[in-house]
């Protein structure tokens, strides 16, 4: 064959799995190609907090041995191999793995090495997946831009002067920039779906309790959920399949049966599109919020029209308590975070500072170890839970939570799923919302009610506005991940020929420039400019 050599990093995970089984490439080749890309580009993207090249190569070689053995044993043995065997993937920097660092983007966990594997890490390692490293994130997952990482921000592969969203921005950027085909994120108020939307990839927040959180560094325990990123719905389904299900060590993980998400999704576009016929979708009026960009609204309305044209019935629905979602979330999440983060005392692991006696040590450790956004939320949460204010804030928010959940319950009496924007805007500029926490919080206006109600939500790319990706969100009943993935797959099928489908992230060539500035330098320059004009 002549012409350009095949670039395996452009493949979907499913293509990689097929090539491994066919003996067309080895896991070692896949892993080395991705590691080379990371080494060449991450100075300009900063999607990664730590990369374990040596461990990844060893895992890849182990996967290649399993593949060779199965190939000798015959087609049945090959078919029995776990789908993720030999595939490179990324974990968000809050997934604890044995012998590797996990910082959750925080200085307070600097130097922390995991003494055990998280449940999902055990599952992925048993499946033969190859973990290349940990991805950047807002500190303790608190943020919508990945700018609140103690290790500096991550760039958006579509425009390096813009954020990738957050908090799982490193995972989203890594998948969008072909550093990995698959990545794990967590979503407490939109932290998978919003970065997926802003970087043009697929991200799924499963039902609360679908995936065990044993070994995941906690943010807000009644909201946190783990989910997959991929470049299409089939890849995302494959990764969800590998991690979903009950685990005794997380009492909130559900015994609800896990369906076969991955094989239920048609490979061919025609049968996938047929799935839309007769589906009833609700379009929540309140999700076209004030402050929504016209370009985003246009893309979403076009997507809805395409779904209708393919046979879906779309009706307007009301979720009347949507506007209360933000306040409800920003009481519940900080309250739970303030309790979860009480464990960081500088005594057992991580950053430790001396102030004198025990109390002074706590004060010094937590002052030096936590960043500004974490302090803000710990303060808010501590206040909301403190004597005399509990009823006014936390209890009130839990009651409004009931109303928000009822809105969804009522909507699902008449529709199969909801379709909505994922984020009211495209990726914003580095630094643009750092000075105004409330503006940052509004980034998640369309995603956080879904966490408040415990429901699954899927974001799929639905076009470009001013050259930047827009996300379409499908929201389902509890345990309806399979339906959401089917809807996402159907949407991919009916838009397979759309011009924007073939557009790669536009800043990829810049990543190959060894002199390209880091996202931290870009943020500093943006802030200089802002203070100059102000």
């Amino acid at each position: 064959m002549t012409g350009r050599p095949i670039d395996v990093t452009r493949w979907r995970a499913a293509q990689m799995a097929a090539a491994l089984r066919a003996g067309e490439c080895s896991s070692r080749e896949l892993v080395e190609a991705h590691l080379a890309r990371i080494r060449r580009q991450d100075h300009a993207l900063h999607a990664w907090v730590s990369v374990d090249g040596e461990g990844a190569i060893a895992s890849a070689e182990a996967a290649d041995r399993r593949l060779a053995e199965a190939r000798r044993a015959g087609p049945a043995a090959l078919a029995d191999l776990p789908p993720l065997l030999g595939l490179p993937l990324a974990l968000k920097d809050l997934v604890v793995t044995r012998g590797q660092p996990s910082t959750a983007g925080s200085r307070i966990l600097e130097g922390f090495v995991g003494p055990y594997d998280a449940h999902i890490a055990e599952r992925l390692l048993a499946a033969g997946a190859v973990v290349l490293g940990k991805t950047n994130m807002d500190e303790f997952a608190m943020g919508s831009s990945t700018e609140h990482s103690a290790w500096g921000p991550t760039g958006n592969p579509w425009d390096l002067d813009r954020v990738p969203g957050g908090s799982s921005g490193g995972s989203a950027a890594a998948v969008a920039a072909f550093h990995v085909p698959l990545a794990i994120g967590t979503d407490t108020g939109g932290s998978i779906r919003q970065p997926a939307a802003l970087t043009g990839v697929v991200g799924l927040k499963p039902t609360y309790g679908r995936v065990s959180r044993y070994g995941i560094i906690a943010f807000a325990s009644s909201l946190d959920q783990i989910g997959p990123f991929g470049r299409d719905t089939r890849d995302a389904a494959m990764l969800l399949q590998a991690v979903a299900g009950r685990d005794e060590r997380d009492a909130t993980s559900s015994p609800h049966p896990v369906p076969d998400y991955a094989t239920a999704l048609p490979l061919d576009d025609e049968p996938a599109a047929v799935g839309l016929r007769g589906v009833r979708l609700g379009l929540p009026r309140q999700y076209f919020v004030a402050g929504m960009e016209a370009g985003v609204a246009r893309c979403v309305r076009e997507a809805v029209a395409a779904l209708e044209a393919a046979g879906a019935e779309v009706v307007d629905v009301d979720l009347p308590h949507t506007d209360y979602g933000l306040a409800t979330y920003y009481i519940i999440a900080p309250a739970e975070a303030s309790a979860n983060l009480a464990r960081y005392d500088g005594i057992r692991y991580g950053y430790s500072a001396r102030g004198g006696d025990v109390l002074a040590n706590y004060l010094a450790t937590r002052d030096g170890g936590f960043g500004a956004e974490v302090k803000r939320r710990v303060m808010l949460g501590t206040y909301a839970l403190s004597a005399g204010y509990y009823d006014a804030f936390y209890l009130k928010a839990q009651k409004v939570r009931t109303l928000i959940k009822r809105d969804f319950d009522r909507a699902f009496e008449s529709v199969d799923a909801l379709v909505a924007p994922t984020s009211p805007t495209v990726a914003f500029r580095l630094g643009a919302r750092l000075a105004d926490p409330v503006a940052m919080y509004l980034s998640d206006a369309c995603t956080l009610p879904v966490n408040v109600a415990g429901l699954p939500g899927l974001s799929v790319p639905c076009g470009l506005s001013e050259g930047l990706p827009v996300g379409l969100q499908f929201i389902g009943r509890p345990w309806d991940e399979g339906r959401l993935l089917g809807l996402g797959r159907a949407y991919e099928a009916i838009t397979a020929g759309a011009p924007w489908r073939g557009v790669e992230p536009t800043a990829l060539p810049v990543l190959d420039d060894p002199d390209a500035p880091s996202p931290a330098a870009r943020l500093a320059a943006a802030q200089d400019e802002r203070s100059f004009t102000a």
């Binding site: 055990y116 102030g355 009931t402």
Partner: protein
């Protein structure tokens, strides 16, 4: 009620910081007072809703009788548990004395 109460003076901010075990600088306290009050103002919208008869939701996905067998499982070894300790003495995490004379710890290494 939410609207009326949602204002923190500087002493309250300092008190909450102590409750949260955050040793904040004067600058941080000043900034946080402004930011927290701005955020608390956003909470006031909840006061519009009559929730007198509404039950609170703590867990959205109801699960009943999540039980497992009561059996001992191997946990972390002492070495693994102490591996990340900033300061240790023998098989113990080392902290400044809390009670009495803050002299040398009476622990055999």
């Amino acid at each position: 009620m939410l609207g009326r109460m949602a204002h923190l003076d500087r002493a309250e901010v300092a008190h909450v910081a102590l409750l949260a075990r955050l040793g904040l600088s004067e600058d941080e306290l000043t900034r946080l007072q402004v930011e927290l009050n701005h955020i608390l103002e956003q909470y006031a919208v909840l006061a519009e809703l009559d929730t007198e008869a509404i039950a609170p939701t703590a867990q959205t996905i109801e699960q009943a009788n999540i039980l497992r067998e009561d059996r001992a499982e191997p946990g972390l070894s002492t070495e693994a548990a102490l591996a990340g300790a900033p300061e240790r003495l023998g098989d113990h995490f080392l902290v400044p004395a809390i009670l009495g004379d803050a002299g040398a710890p009476e622990v055999e290494p």
